[in-house]
């Protein structure tokens, strides 16, 4: 029992020392890497033409001229697009995850086919598919289906379709990480499979998923740079397109630097918040992991691990091997 605790909590027992020589060797190697890195940096710094670099990449006048449009148009579009695409991707991804966990084979296959397809082709092609192929082939125009999204509609749907493929696997992993006993306890209280999923399983799954979800969002923020293929108007430019256009206008690299800084200003706080949330729910997680470890240590006890995909309950939703 005690060993289970230690192992799962990640505090590994001290490794048997293989003598000082091994540690010493590792130390030497580390120093060698430091020195080599310093040499490389020194060479670059000494040989670079700083005056030229600054005039090409950090021209203060050009930098100032980018504002306020780089914020009010470009960054705004990027953020809104990412939020729309993420929300859509989350809903679609949850549906796909539940299909992947379903007992109904065709659901599982369909979801798997979707996931493999849209993860397998470049996001750029998916955008082209949604923007140009769908309207011609099937007369489907996102702008007519989702008019309230305005100009964001088509690119947001395209990105959401791609995001859903990645998010589905993240969500499935989260659901599978919830111990099987949770579903059993919920069902034993008379909850239906979907009630149990909604109020017991999914809330727990999402806590485990905060870091990977943040990661997906950051990827999505960067993927907004692909939407230019769908055509861009003055008001719908995203950060990447805006900076590229500015580079062509000014013949300076400064807008690229500005765009990079703004991307970072969007993504860094997100990852910081995610780390914070993770720390706060750490109490909860470690408690659960501890209990899982106790369960694992009990001989022949039920596996605390996930829901077995083969075992799902009747309504085609993840459950136990019961109805």
């Amino acid at each position: 029992m005690t060993e289970g605790h230690v192992g799962v909590d990640g505090i590994r027992p001290p490794r048997q020392t293989a003598g000082m020589s091994k540690r010493r060797k590792a130390q030497l190697r580390r120093w060698a890497i430091y020195v080599a890195t310093l040499v490389v940096i020194a060479v670059v710094v000494l040989s670079a033409d700083w005056a030229k670099l600054q005039s090409v990449f950090l021209d203060p006048q050009i930098f100032r001229d980018l504002f306020p449009e780089i914020i009010t148009i470009a960054a705004k579009n990027t953020v809104i697009l990412a939020i729309f695409a993420f929300s859509g991707g989350l809903v679609l991804g949850l549906a796909l995850a539940l299909m992947r966990l379903s007992s109904v084979k065709p659901y599982r296959w369909a979801a798997l086919a979707y996931i493999e397809f849209f993860r397998g082709i470049p996001a750029l092609l998916t955008l082209i598919l949604v923007g140009f192929v769908l309207p011609i082939a099937l007369q489907v125009r996102i702008k007519q289906i989702l008019p309230f999204l305005g100009d964001y509609g088509t690119p947001a749907v395209g990105l959401a379709i791609v995001a859903a493929a990645y998010l589905a696997e993240t969500i499935r992993g989260g659901i599978e990480a919830v111990p099987k006993g949770q579903m059993e306890a919920a069902r034993s209280l008379g909850m239906t499979n979907s009630q149990a999923l909604r109020s017991i399983i999914i809330p727990q799954a999402f806590r485990v998923m905060i870091p990977p979800l943040t990661n997906e969002f950051v990827l999505l923020v960067k993927d907004t740079s692909l939407v230019f293929v769908l055509g861009v108007s003055a008001s719908s430019q995203d950060l990447a397109f805006f900076s590229r256009a500015a580079v062509q206008d000014t013949l300076s690299g400064t807008p690229f630097i500005a765009a990079a800084l703004i991307y970072l200003a969007i993504t860094l706080p997100l990852t910081a918040v995610s780390r914070q949330l993770e720390k706060r729910s750490g109490d909860y997680t470690s408690g659960r992991k501890k209990r899982a470890a106790v369960a694992a240590a009990e001989a022949n006890a039920l596996e605390p691990g996930g829901i077995e995909p083969g075992n799902f309950g009747q309504a085609g939703m993840p459950g136990g091997n019961f109805r």
């Binding site: 034993s188 909850m191 239906t192 909860y284 659960r288 605390p304 109805r323």
Partner: protein, 249 residues
């Protein structure tokens, strides 16, 4: 003699296999209302599986399970409704870690029984008092000791006003000094007339509280009867051997 009231639980030639592995061979067992039945037996004999068949957490591969005379193996039976009549307590507690104690005690009342917020809260307070944890309403499961968690789990089951309770080794995951508080709560329930089917290794509890003890081995009921008979004076060789091993520890 037949009574007009059907037994709370009735298992008829119940069988369960996992693939090739036959875990329950042919189980016949009746638990009448208000009766406390303890199931004992070696590891792997199918005790948990039997218990889990009673509320269909496992689907039997043969035979019938009747709850209040209703055959729940019939696919037309409303298993979710039947489950609200059967409280279940697990070895690993299985409290909902994202909800505080109040949330654990009210969620099924609200979602399943559609009770109002006030009614379900009042109920939560009263069942929590019953297990002696009135001051823990707003604690989270992780903040409680194992014994307290298991008592909350019992309270959670009681909150739905079940007619009967299933216990699967409720004290096996507890440190020895915490076993007593859980057994005390269970004895209180038994004395209040709750129908109980209890898988346990606590021979003292079985002897004092059970109306009947069932010894299982190899997926079969080998011997059953009053506790003093089955535990005190077992007739079958396998029962004797099992009890010797238990008491040697």
């Amino acid at each position: 003699m037949s009574t007009p009231i059907p037994p709370a639980i009735e298992l008829c030639s119940l069988a369960k296999s996992f693939g090739e592995l036959q875990v329950l061979r042919s189980i016949d067992l009746k638990v009448t209302q208000g009766e406390v039945v303890c199931i004992i037996g070696p590891s792997g004999s199918g005790k948990s599986t039997l218990l889990r068949c009673v509320n269909l957490l496992e689907t039997p591969t043969g035979g019938q399970v009747l709850i209040d005379g209703i055959d729940i193996t019939d696919p037309h039976s409303d298993i979710d409704e039947i489950r609200t009549r059967i409280g279940m307590v697990f070895q690993q507690f299985n409290l909902f870690p994202h909800l505080d104690v109040a949330g654990n005690l009210t969620i099924a009342q609200r979602r399943v029984l559609k009770r109002s917020r006030i009614e379900s809260n009042d109920k939560a307070v009263s069942v929590l008092k019953r297990v002696g944890l009135s001051d823990k309403l707003h604690s989270y499961p992780r903040q409680l000791s194992g014994g307290q968690q298991q008592r909350v789990a019992i309270a959670r089951a009681l909150a739905s006003d079940p007619e009967m309770m299933l216990f699967d080794e409720p004290t096996s995951a507890l440190d020895p000094e915490l076993v007593g508080e859980v057994l005390d709560v269970m004895r209180g329930l038994a004395e209040a007339g709750m129908t109980m089917l209890v898988v346990t290794h606590e021979m003292g509890f079985a002897r004092r509280v059970a109306d009947r003890v069932v010894f299982m081995d190899g997926g079969l009921i080998v011997e059953e009867g009053p506790p003093d008979q089955v535990i005190g004076d077992p007739q079958h060789e396998r029962t004797k051997r099992f009890l010797e091993q238990v008491f040697e520890r």
